[in-house]
């Protein structure tokens, strides 16, 4: 896909590390996000997602490596970068004691918008995210979903080329989540480059590409389908199965994990998702677990990440 050289990338990160004292929050991370696409950033808490996003919007400087946003080096051209970037932090960070309209007006002014243009952009953004009807309410009394929409509106009034969102859907309901993602895709359709961190696999599945950060390193990066199809996710000589167990599924999980040929087992409803060695036949698996039904199960993105994490642990037993 696109790299730093072809000028088509909205975001380029090359060999970037960031240290906080003795702690290495990011370790030689490289990735590129093509213009007008959505990049999903995944990884457990503390893996470096927020650090990477803060590096991209210039809040932090990398200890080593290069960060480019919309073709501009963040370190040397921070001022220009700030004008082209929109940032929605993980924590709501607009003013609780200002109304929706006052918050938007302040941020429009902060991005240098003046007079009639400011008013127009403010109303445009409010209408786009659907907060226009909330204009007179204090931001502090809004529910989580409304707050996130407001944060998004504040981040897009200056028409950024790149939009960075740090867990924008954490703690908001599924309907609001879906609405927010629809908005993000419509922005991408207009050519905005988006980088979104999330814990939700369904959100990750919708991204053009995803990256998985684990213990400060980018373990995997690519389109969701490619990640699922990676040979190390389902190594040769193994296969993935779904075993329907019914109400006894919790006991079945312990049983499955004790079987020598089962490499991974996870509960999904009343079924188990298994990664098993090919030496065990379907009949043997069904018998050992007392499964009512057995069928092949393609790996989910979550399976892929769990597998990659486990492999990482096996490689570096010290950690």
């Amino acid at each position: 896909m696109s790299g730093a050289s072809d000028g088509q990338a909205g975001v380029v990160v090359q060999g970037v590390s960031r240290d906080f004292g003795p702690l290495r929050a990011l370790d030689r991370v490289s990735l590129a996000v093509a213009r007008g696409t959505v990049f999903g950033l995944l990884g457990p808490n503390g893996s470096g997602k927020s650090t990477l996003i803060r590096l991209l919007c210039g809040l932090l400087a990398p200890s080593e490596g290069v960060v480019e946003v919309d073709g501009l080096d963040v370190a040397s051209r921070g001022e220009e970068v700030r004008r082209r970037v929109g940032y929605v932090p993980q924590r709501f960070s607009l003013y609780d004691d200002l109304t929706v309209a006052e918050n938007l007006d302040f941020y429009a002014a902060a991005y240098g918008l003046r007079g009639a243009e400011r008013r127009r952009r403010r109303e445009e953004a409010a209408a786009l995210v659907g907060v226009a009807s909330q204009g007179g309410r204090l931001a502090g009394v809004l529910s989580g979903g409304w707050r996130q929409r407001l944060s998004l509106a504040a981040a897009i009034m200056h028409r950024p080329r790149v939009l960075l969102l740090d867990e924008p859907t954490a703690g908001i309901d599924p309907v609001a989540r879906r609405a927010l993602w629809d908005l993000l895709f419509s922005l991408a359709g207009e050519g905005v480059t988006l980088l979104v961190s999330t814990h939700y696999m369904d959100e990750a599945e919708r991204c053009s590409r995803v990256g998985y950060l684990f213990q400060s390193r980018l373990l995997a990066e690519g389109p969701p389908d490619a990640l699922r199809a990676r040979p190390d996710v389902t190594p040769s000589g193994t296969r993935r199965l779904e075993a329907e167990l019914g109400p006894g599924v919790a006991a079945g999980l312990a049983r499955a994990r004790a079987l020598p040929y089962v490499r991974e087992a996870t509960i999904f409803g009343t079924a188990l998702h298994l990664l098993v060695d090919d030496r065990a036949t379907d009949a043997a698996v069904a018998r050992d677990l007392g499964a009512r039904a057995l069928r092949p199960a393609p790996p989910s993105l979550e399976d892929a990440f769990v597998r990659l994490t486990a492999l990482q642990g096996a490689e570096r037993p010290g950690r």
């Binding site: 001022e79 960070s93 941020y107 504040a154």
Partner: protein, 368 residues
């Protein structure tokens, strides 16, 4: 029941241990207060005295030496005219002025008539003034008794005391100008520190930092409203002082306003410095306390500076409040002008400049 209590108790002790700041403050502040109150001796000592000695005789020297020996006075200045004597008091360099007559020498010997000592007293600090008057009267009386013992009729030394300002010796004239300095300390330092720390505490600073707004615009934009608020506060206190407490303003109101801005600049800078070091408003309050307390106790607001033990007086002179209170009292009570107060104005300016430098540095560091 006991078990429940123990559970909460144990948790609370853990909280205390995890918050060394509060603990430190809880132990430090009483120690600081006790030390200050304990060391401060409210009996008046070392009152600066200006002497206009016309007689320049052994008798006049002896008289002044006796005044100094009482430890109530120390000769701060010797001047050559009655006007100069008065000026020393207006400028605040002396609290009491003593004029010894030309004929002190002759009259002391012959005692035909009593010899009049003119004593000018700065009435702005009522308690200091009263004690100083007592001391002069006492000395004059004992001297006179010595002479009388030699069989002379008239009292040879007769002090004529003239209270220059605040003739009714009302404490309001002293306290209210001082209070202005303390009130501005609270609003100038604490509110400023809060305004910035609040942004950090609520996480709004981060959103502000990704905008193209310059740090200078952010800081100045946040400070100016508080400067305005403090100026309004000053106006309200001055009006109340004049109208309700009937303390007249003898000096130039405009000068007071201008020097208040100088004072506020130092306070805002201090607020900025505190906010740069503090993560939460509680932390900022604790830091501010360490500055506010000495500002109340060591600035001359409650106790005269002469009552502050010498080593601590160094701290006094480093506090912006000390200089501003001297300026406010000088202008309001004694009608002092810029030339009279130049030392305080200069000192305050230097303190303000140093604080501004330190605070912009500290703030820039926290932003990056």
């Amino acid at each position: 029941m006991i078990g429940d209590l123990a559970a909460v108790l144990r948790k609370e002790l853990l909280h205390l241990r995890r918050d060394p700041g509060t603990l430190r403050l809880a132990l430090l502040i009483p120690a600081l207060q006790l030390t200050l109150f304990g060391l401060i001796d409210t009996t008046v000592r070392d009152v600066p005295l200006a002497v206009f000695d016309q007689s320049l005789s052994p008798e006049s020297r002896e008289l002044v030496a006796a005044l100094e020996a009482s430890r109530v006075f120390r000769v701060a200045r010797r001047v050559a005219s009655r006007d100069a004597l008065r000026q020393e008091i207006v400028a605040g360099r002396a609290r009491v002025g003593l004029e010894l007559p030309l004929d002190l020498h002759r009259r002391a010997l012959t005692a035909e008539r009593s010899s009049t000592l003119l004593v000018l007293v700065d009435g702005s600090d009522a308690s200091v003034a009263a004690q100083a008057i007592d001391a002069v009267n006492g000395l004059a009386l004992s001297r006179s008794l010595e002479v009388l013992a030699r069989g002379v009729e008239a009292l040879p030394l007769e002090p004529r005391v003239q209270v220059l300002f605040n003739p009714e010796l009302r404490s309001a004239a002293l306290l209210i100008p001082g209070l202005i300095g303390i009130l501005l300390t609270f609003s100038g330092t604490l509110l400023t520190a809060f305004a910035l720390v609040r942004e950090r505490e609520r996480g709004t600073l981060e959103q502000l930092m990704v905008t193209p707004l310059s740090p200078a615009a952010i800081v100045l934009g946040k400070l100016l409203p508080y400067l305005g608020l403090a100026m309004v506060q000053l106006a309200v206190v001055l009006v109340l002082m004049r109208v309700v407490f009937r303390v007249p303003i003898h000096g130039d109101l405009l000068l007071l306003g201008a020097l208040s801005v100088e004072y506020l600049a130092s306070l805002l800078a201090l607020g900025l410095l505190i906010s740069a070091r503090s993560r939460t408003q509680v932390e900022a309050t604790q830091r501010a306390q360490l500055f506010l307390l000495p500002s109340i106790l060591l600035s001359g607001y409650i106790f005269p500076l002469t009552a502050v033990p010498a080593p601590l007086r160094v701290v006094s002179h480093l506090l912006p409040a000390t200089h501003f209170i001297a300026i406010a009292r000088g202008i309001i009570v004694r009608g002092a002008g810029l030339l009279d107060l130049w030392q305080h104005v200069l000192a305050l300016g230097l303190i303000a400049a140093a604080l501004l430098l330190a605070s912009t540095r500290a703030f820039r560091k926290t932003l990056s």
